[in-house]
Amino acid sequence: MSKQSHCNHQSTRNRGQASITVAEAGIGILLLLGITFAFTLGVPGAENTATENQLDRYADDTTTLLSNEPPRHQDQTRLAEVTASQEAFDREQDELADRVAAILPDNVMFRLETQYGSLGYPLPDDVTTGEQTVLTPNGEVHLEVWYA
C-alpha cells in the first residue's frame, strides 16, 4: 500500500506544470504594453485638428483677399460681382476660379459655392476640409478648401 501511494506521489511531482505566476505576470505586462502604445502612438484625431486649423486659415485669407480686390466690371468687389445675378455668375466664374487657384497654394484644392452655382473642384468624401463663409451685399459665398 505504501509503495502504491509512493508511486502516485512521485508522478505528481514530475508532471510539467506551468507556474501560474508567470502566466499572470505575462497577461499583466501585455495589458500595460497595450496602454503604453496607446499613449505613445497617439490618438489619430489630433493631426486632423492641426490640418483643419491650417485649412481654415487658408480659406479665411483667401476670402479676405478676394473681398478686397477691385472688381472687373461694376460691382463693389469681385465677390459681390459674382453673387449679383445668375448671368453675372456665369460670366465671371471662370475668371474667379482662376483667381482663387492663383491665391491658394499649389497643393490645395477648393470649392466655392454661391446661391447661383458652384465653381472649383468636386468635394471628395472623407477628406479634412477648412471653410470660410463671407457675406457680400448680394448674398453669401462659401469657400471650402482641402489638401490635394
Partner: protein
Amino acid sequence: MSGRKRWRDDDERGQTELPALGIAFLFLTVALLMTVAAAETGFNTAERDAIERQTAVSLSEQLIDEEAAITARQNVLNESALSQISETNLSEEYGLDSEQAVRVQVGGETIVERGDVTGGTTVERIVSVESQEVETLEPTFVDSLSVSLPRRTDAVTLRLDPPPETTIRSVRANNETVLKTENGLAGTFDLSLSMLSTTTLWFEAAGPMPRGSVEIEYLATETQKSTLTVTVDE
C-alpha cells in the same frame, strides 16, 4: 507514517514559489513605470503642441491685421514696413512669452527670428506684399493731349512747364477736372486720384506741347502674392 506522507504531498503541490513571485512583481512594476512615463510624455507633448499652435495663430492674426505696423490693408503687407518687427517688440507688442522661440518669414525669407527654432508648430497665412516705387513719365503728345498712366495710382505730382507761347487751360483726370485756370497753368501740382481704375490725364491747351512740357511723377504700387509663415517652438 501517514502523517509523514501528507507533509510531502503539501510540499510538492503546484504552488507559487517566492522567487517567481518576486520576479513577476519586478516585471510588472517595470511595465507600469513605462506606461506612466509614456502617458506623461504624451500629455506634455499634446499640451505643448496646443500652446505652440495657439501662439502661432494669434501672432499671425496680429501681423496680418489691418491695424498692424507692417500692413497697408487687411492681409496686405507693406514691403517697406517689414523692418518694423524686431526681436524686442515681439514680446511687448505681440504678447509673446520671453521663453518661446519664434520665427517669422515672408515668402521664405526670415524677417525676424528669436531664439532657436527647431521644429515647433508652423502656421502659414496667405498675404499680398505691396511695394511702391516712384515712376516718372514725360509724354509726347501725338494724337491727342492725353496720357494714360500705366498703373493705378492715387498720388501724382504734375510738373507743367509749357513753352512761352502755350497756355495750358485745364487738366482733367478721367472725367473730373482737377486743375483749371484762364491764365495758364505752370508749376508743380499734387493730384490725388482714385485707385479704382487707371487714370487718363487730359490736357486742354492752346499751342504746341512738345515733350518736356508735362512731367508726371506717380507712385506705382505693385502687389505680389506671398505667404507669411510663423513658427513657434516652445
